[in-house]
């Protein structure tokens, strides 16, 4: 009798395994196909995961292992609030015009200045917001100079993805990696910022060289740039000062969050709440501008991934990776390289957020098996997740997923947004046009990442 009950329970468990796999594969396929909005897919997949009983509601909403990662969710919401309020001040448009004037209307200098500025701003703010604010000014400057805006816009999207790779808050995949591995803001500064700076220096030199004889501009048109009066672009100076201070404080908070024993989400939430309080902006106005579809996409995704973690699919996949790359507790070089390049090329064609959301638990599981010896007591512990052999694998995942987004026009949200803005601005950018710039930069950045990981962690 007991054996029959045990067999029935095993059969039920096996059924749930395959159902969870089915939900995961189907959701991923639908997200990639873009036939149905990704938020709808994620939410229906999440609801099915709970209704079918793969996860209980308590697990889905409250479990640190398989539930929604509220550290990521609240960090995203809070940063969106801060950036939305800062964006209302007109500071970004003002900065872009100042840069164009500093370049004295020289197109190559403007291209380089915008490339570097977009990367720098994207390291501190969301990539999409950065390109959203820069693109209209870019279209205007190019119109005034009589230039084709396509290379400018594509390089800005690319710069935002490269810059976003540098910090914990720069790109959503980094948020997921940080939250899963328990990494701090400073960990990203120490381990990823140096390689991003190197990449930006290399790419800036290359861009300057490639475009050195590409543009010809009438001096009269250059003079128009110098004659621009950017002072009117600052719509709300007191708001700019307040938002600037709060953003600076929030970044200082991120740097010190380890010492303060506060999670990044708490720091960002405090910054957003403080800014809402002192800015005088109506809460409903800025809350309406939060990208709720993205937030709910994350929520749904965490629940679907939680389902496949619970039934053991992630564990099985991690065994496959272990088998294929033979990592040891001494070195995971092959694993890092496979994850870096696989993530890079995959992220060029699929959304890197669901990809990293799937890979992060897989890396954690692999770390627990290889470094923790499969001891359940050590699973998910800082000792295992931040073991010296495991850390380069996390960096490989972050670098591959973030930089891979540059490969194609659909590889990153910033690319899609720039294409949309260009079209609305009267200039269509084709998939191939984007790839002509994006793919070489992606491959170049993955080669540099390979060298960096090898020299820094394995030499």
């Amino acid at each position: 009798m007991e054996t029959a009950a045990h067999q029935a329970a095993q059969a039920g468990s096996s059924n749930l395994y395959w159902i969870a796999c089915g939900i995961f594969v189907l959701s991923f396929a639908l997200i990639i196909s873009e036939k149905v909005h990704k938020t709808k897919v994620a939410l229906i997949g999440a609801a099915a995961t709970i209704v079918i009983g793969i996860l209980t509601q308590v697990e889905a909403f409250h479990s640190p292992e398989v539930g929604v990662d509220y550290n990521v969710i609240f960090l995203l919401i809070a940063m969106m609030l801060i950036v939305n309020i800062l964006g209302k001040s007109g500071a970004f448009e003002w900065t872009a015009v100042k840069l164009a004037k500093a370049a004295k209307g020289d197109p190559v200098k403007i291209l380089v200045f915008f490339f570097v500025a977009t990367a720098a701003i994207s390291a501190a703010l969301d990539n999409v917001t950065t390109v959203l604010l820069f693109a209209p000014v870019t279209l205007l400057i190019c119109d005034e100079l009589g230039l084709d805006p396509v290379p400018f816009l594509i390089l800005e999207a690319i710069a935002s993805n490269v810059g976003g790779t540098a910090t914990l808050i720069g790109d959503p995949p980094n948020l997921i990696v940080a939250s899963r591995a328990g990494l701090t803001f400073n960990d990203f500064i120490v381990h990823l910022t140096p390689i991003v700076i190197i990449m930006m220096i290399v790419f800036t030199v290359v861009v300057r060289f490639v475009f050195r004889n590409r543009f010809e501009v009438d001096p009269v048109k250059k003079a128009r740039i110098l004659a621009m009066d950017e002072s009117g672009l600052i719509k709300n100076r007191p708001l700019l000062v307040k938002a600037g201070w709060v953003l600076a404080l929030t970044i200082v908070g991120f740097v010190a969050h380890g010492a303060l024993h506060l999670e990044p989400a708490t720091i960002a939430l405090f910054g957003a709440a403080l800014l809402l309080l002192i800015s005088g902006v109506e809460p409903h106005e800025v809350l309406a501008e939060v990208e709720w579809p993205t937030i709910f996409f994350f929520i749904g995704l965490f629940i679907i991934i939680g389902g496949i973690v619970k039934v053991g699919l992630v564990s099985d996949l991690s065994q496959l990776v272990i088998h294929a790359t033979s990592p040891t507790s001494e070195s995971m070089f092959a694993t890092s390289m496979v994850i870096l390049w696989f993530s890079g090329f995959l992220s060029a064609f699929i959304d890197n957020i669901p990809y990293v959301a799937t890979m992060a638990p897989l890396v954690a599981e692999m770390a627990s098996n290889v470094v923790g010896g499969g001891d359940p007591a050590l699973a998910g512990s800082k000792e295992v997740l931040q073991h010296a052999a495991v850390m380069p694998v996390w960096w490989a995942l972050a670098l591959g997923a973030c930089l891979g987004g540059n490969g194609t026009a659909i590889g990153a949200s910033a690319n899609v947004v720039v294409l949309g803005l260009a079209e609305r601005g009267g200039r269509k950018i084709t998939f191939l046009q984007f790839m002509k710039y994006g793919m070489p930069i992606m491959v170049g950045s993955l080669i540099m990442s390979t060298a960096y990981l090898w020299i820094r962690y394995y030499l």
Partner: protein, 149 residues
């Protein structure tokens, strides 16, 4: 009161093939600066007004950030007036247009004018264009109706 009691006497209309440079003087002379674009059968295809003409020479990227208009050089519009050359009405008309039927009440028409912020609305009988109603023709009809009562 019905829409038919507030119709304009001389509505401006055109065909989709007409060039903007031909239509522009007529639009400028029209009180409401709007023309109905009609098919050969007299059916309404869309509306074209002075705002639609302006939209063709105002940089489209300003739709993304109106605040930027203040830094563009002062003679931009004059320099870009040539963009109107050879453009057919069908390329800039707004279609489908918000319409009212002759038998509808003036309250329905007034409500649509307020909702869409339009100076005029085309009044149809079935699918056939009859004339326009405007803010002033609606108000004038209402005042006239009350005085008569």
């Amino acid at each position: 009161m019905e829409v038919r009691q507030a119709l304009l006497a001389e509505p401006l209309f055109t065909s989709p093939q007409v060039k903007i440079e031909t239509l522009l003087p007529l639009l400028l002379a029209d009180r409401d600066g709007t023309a109905a674009v009609l098919s050969e059968q007299g059916e309404l295809l869309g509306l074209v007004g002075l705002t639609d003409v302006l939209r063709k020479i105002v940089p489209v990227y300003l739709d993304l950030n109106r605040n930027l208009a203040g830094i563009i050089h002062a003679t931009y519009l004059e320099e870009n007036l040539d963009r109107l050359q050879g453009i057919a009405v069908s390329e800039i008309m707004v279609s489908p247009a918000t319409t009212v039927q002759l038998k509808e009440s003036l309250l329905v028409a007034a409500s649509k004018i307020v909702e869409h912020g339009r100076r005029v609305l085309p009044a149809l009988e079935g699918r056939r264009f009859v004339s326009f109603i405007s803010r002033s023709s609606v108000l004038a009809a209402v005042l006239h109706g009350r005085a008569a009562a």
